[in-house]
Subunit: 192 residues, 2 copies
Amino acid sequence: MSVQERKERERAGRERLIVATARELAEQQGWDAVTTRRLAERIEYSQPVLYSHFRGKREIIGAVALQGATEMAAAMRAATSAADGPRARVYALARAYLDFATRNPAVYDALFQLDGGLAYAQEDTPEPLKDAFAALLDCLGEVAGDGVAPGLFTEVFWAALHGVATLTRSGRLPPEETESRVELLVGRLAVV
Amino acid sequence: MSVQERKERERAGRERLIVATARELAEQQGWDAVTTRRLAERIEYSQPVLYSHFRGKREIIGAVALQGATEMAAAMRAATSAADGPRARVYALARAYLDFATRNPAVYDALFQLDGGLAYAQEDTPEPLKDAFAALLDCLGEVAGDGVAPGLFTEVFWAALHGVATLTRSGRLPPEETESRVELLVGRLAVV
DNA sequence: GATTCGATCCTAGCAGTGCTAGACATGAGA
DNA sequence: TCTCATGTCTAGCACTGCTAGGATCGAATC
């Protein structure tokens, strides 16, 4: 059985290599540059090997998205746990969110702009995505205010952050005033 | 000179046809289906004709975006002018915005998601885009509150609407509660 | 140790994409 | 009527995601 186990290990390792390489290439040159040929060349295998791991390019994007969701959730939890009081936590959360989007634009795209074939906001939503939303919810639920469902409040706050992140990165909002926007957003939306 | 004038008229007409056809095709089957071949076939000309009007597909997307910006600005102005009081106007604006995004998803994408080669938030920003932002500003400037720059407030409110619009349409937010989200957004952000 | 045979991988190719060079026709002005 | 510029099309380039089918390699059997 050890032969088969070794093969499975190698296979799993190659799959990680594919995801890591796709992510790296996407961060370096954008998702448009992530073609199956270039990706295959970088991992030093032929194109069809990719298809023995993933159904297609979409699933590769999805795999990067799941990896990113886990990291993003961790980043947000780390940021909020280091802050004192609900308001400070919300600030830390918002900054961590936008910071992650700025530092990992390709991963952010895989998560929230591209089609990675993942289910969102449903029962069969993958655990990493649920956990990332939970990280938002844990912090934002504190400041939803009376009579407002924490889930709904989280969705709205998240949507606002997402809007700021995407419009800024696509050059539709000048990046200089991001800090002021966050202050306005937190100041008005959060109830302390 | 009348011959030349006639030719220019015909040329302008054909350009309108290209833009209208691209928009129609995009609304029917999505922007991925708008290929230069299909577009050329629909307007009953060969592909290179497209390139005598536009530098490439990107510019065609940009042309659709400009057309859409004009319509969107008009829709928002019509909605706000029919409402009484600042708060009612903001509600009407938000609903008109999301309504436009829902009814014209391809145009909305051309405006705010795809790259149409247009300059945003700059001096050389095309007039229709400036006007659409002005339509937002005219309404939202009323409820920015003391000490908050109307421009900044408008950007933040716009970003929130954009987030709700895009996350909902890509299936990342359940569409049922859009109305509650708008109420929360207006209730907390607008100062009356 | 030789031989089968299945898993694994690669070469080559399909139908499609955006875009363009160069041949061709058409019609306005001399 | 002839010339020639303008406008249009055919054909092709280099690329895309994806796949069929042949070659190869190594594990298990005799």
